[in-house]
Assembly symmetry: C2
Homo-oligomer: 414 residues x 2
């Protein structure tokens, strides 16, 4: 029963209304210029103006008082979409792509997702753990306190289970809350190239039940795209996952408007990701069903593509979340401050819209909003101190992380 | 006489031909996959493949051997254009700009360059030193080992001299080589708003001679732009500076095509900066006179403007350098890795072109190429170790600095 008071902070935080924020409410935050946060055993007991927080407590109840020296306090970032469990970087492939080598040629030279599959299959669990933990700890230093990590570089039952065990272990051996997602439907593995429907059958009949039985994934995700999985295949996979008790996510309409966003609405999945090419009708359907759009501006940046139409989505009332998409191919970054800057400067989200997208809505997009994503009484005391006056510093200090202290459950962890 | 051998490095470096690289040569670098660097008293004695470097020396000549573990080695960054001597950030102004407030309104509310002038004039030398040193040390951690810093927030003789003394002191009290530039012609100060030509007279008759006499600036720079200084005023100021023995630089055609690039060619200045709006004829004239274009992609990023036409400049044979433009208004970043990423991904420079622009050409743009900017025998042993296989990692690891070790004159400094 240790009570801690963090005082003299400029607090900006969403306040959780019990559902994601969207449309005109996307940027709804509370600001406490002379703010304080009181926590007990790692959970928030009081938040607001210092005087009000203090008046609710006798001074001798507080075991430890921390002066935040007027720094800006925000909730810890929630990064709800990463592929940071991988064995090897693909730096050379990046260089080839810069030189204009097209993706098919990169595949021919052994690059692309399938090269990550080969290296993950060959890696020991220990090697994979070491790389994944290092990425998670790097994300933590950039202020991410809750993190989703997908499997999907195994593409066979044992290798996928290996990845999910590694992801689970990262949760146990770092301060982060880790949310594991099964992405067996990331690509059709080489050995099924000629018989992709057989791989879909394998996913449905063997892999999903096996993953579900072991209880080591909370979500099932599908890469719905040309040369990956069709809308029809994606529907079958996601319905099987739902029957097996997994939450649903979908990589939708990243490159072509296949209708993935429409499927997301139809199945009322928790979140649909990328959405650069999604059509307006399907975005409206997502808004109606409350499906979160998880936007990945780092991927547009790294691939030199147009950004997702975030302003249009906000107008259509689609709730928005932000994520790094950290992966060894299309976007290698663990930095939510970098993503925040891109969202504000290149997707024209306001600072407060981006803040909600990177905290509360991100938490909703991985069903973690009950415990994290905002500084509300009862939630985990996960917060950051920024070297600045407001969250605007995350975009203002370009390319430089203003995160100076990171707290998880009231303890300083970076 | 301490000799050190850095071995087992993947070295990529320009080799200095005695002049800046441009056009087809802009990206000319040497790569040594099993590279070594030998230095004595902080200067490079040998560079190349490990076996060749070793064969030139008896083993017992080497006092210290450092294993670089296969990391990528490049020259320390040279950042040739910054305004990082300032007293206060302008985070609130950044937020106003994001919300669409126009620049005149920001000025009316006390923002813009003139707000930095007010705070610098009010600051003690000690306060100004502390802020500037912290920025310089931040730049150092991002791999900058040689750094230009401009005055220009004083706009009166004493305040400009105060800034230049601070900049000089940062050079003395940090490991960086600091190049001071006098930018009294940054803006017309408030007290001369109605009589701008009188300020030009003051610059020419009093400030430039006083700065020259004290010998604390190597260059004189002018902000040639509407609402700043006309081409004619800029010419007079720069010619006076030349008569007083200062090197010349010019902020040219950032917003409007006033002809600043043409003036740069006419006066054969060392470098012209920004150039987003420069016309082709003037760019050709710059190429003919060998005037360096210093590109500032962070500023385009932060202001949400189009990027300078770097590919076109390379085609026209204009030598290119890169800089942060670190300043509290239009671009607050000390990170050359971030600038490198923008140059590659948003201005379409190749990795090697960007490397030359951020090292050798940047050194030429501040007349420091005799001692820094490339890993050549006789130059200072200023180099970085990157967590990657090649300089491509500077763009590949988006928003994350891959600089793991920084060496200045053979000593580890970050």
């Amino acid at each position: 029963m240790i009570r801690k008071l963090f005082r003299n902070a400029r607090i900006t935080t969403p306040s959780d209304p019990g559902s994601p924020l969207s449309g005109k409410r996307q940027g709804e935050v509370h600001v406490f210029e002379n703010g304080a946060l009181l926590c007990k055993d790692g959970f928030i007991e009081g938040i607001g103006n210092e005087r009000e927080v203090l008046s609710s407590r006798a001074a001798d109840d507080v075991a430890l008082e921390v002066d935040c020296h007027g720094l800006c306090m925000i909730p810890g970032f929630v990064d709800p979409h990463t592929h940071m469990c991988f064995a090897k970087r693909r730096e050379e492939e990046f260089s080839l792509r810069l030189q204009g080598t097209d993706y098919l040629e990169i595949l021919r030279r052994g690059g692309g997702i399938l090269s990550s599959v080969r290296s993950v299959r060959r890696s020991s669990e220990e090697e994979l753990f070491s790389v994944t933990r290092d990425h998670a700890l790097s994300a933590l230093r950039f202020g991410t306190t809750t993190l989703e990590i997908k499997s999907g570089y195994g593409l066979e039952t044992e290798a996928e289970l290996k990845m999910l065990r590694v992801i689970d272990r990262v949760g146990g051996e770092t301060p982060l809350d880790i949310v594991p997602t099964f992405l067996g439907a990331h690509a059709v593995p080489e050995e099924y190239a000629a018989i992709p429907d057989d791989y879909v059958e394998l996913l449905i009949r063997k892999m999903i039940p096996a993953i579900s039985e072991q209880g080591i994934a909370r979500f099932c995700d599908v890469f719905c795209e040309r040369n990956a999985f069709s809308v029809q295949q994606s529907r079958r996979i996601l319905m099987a996952a739902r029957e097996n008790g997994l939450g649903l996510k979908i990589h939708a309409d990243e490159i072509y408007d296949l209708g993935g966003a429409g499927l997301a609405a139809e199945l009322q999945v928790v979140s649909a990701e990328h959405l650069l090419a999604a059509n307006e009708q399907n975005l409206r359907a997502m808004a109606k069903q409350g499906v979160m759009a998880v936007l990945l501006p780092g991927t547009a940046y790294s691939l030199r593509k147009p950004y997702a139409p975030a302003r249009k989505m906000a107008e259509l009332n689609v709730p928005l979340a932000l994520a790094t998409d950290c992966n060894p191919g299309s976007c290698y970054t663990e930095s939510m401050p970098f993503i925040f800057g891109l969202a504000v400067l290149n997707m024209n989200l306001s600072v407060n819209e981006a803040l909600v997208a990177a905290t509360l809505n991100a938490a909703y997009s991985i069903q973690m909003a009950k415990t994290v994503g905002s500084l509300d009484v009862g939630k985990s005391a996960d917060f950051l101190l920024l070297d600045g006056e407001s969250p605007a510093v995350l975009a203002y200090h370009a390319g430089v992380s203003p995160v100076v202290e990171v707290y998880k459950r009231g303890e300083r962890v970076a």
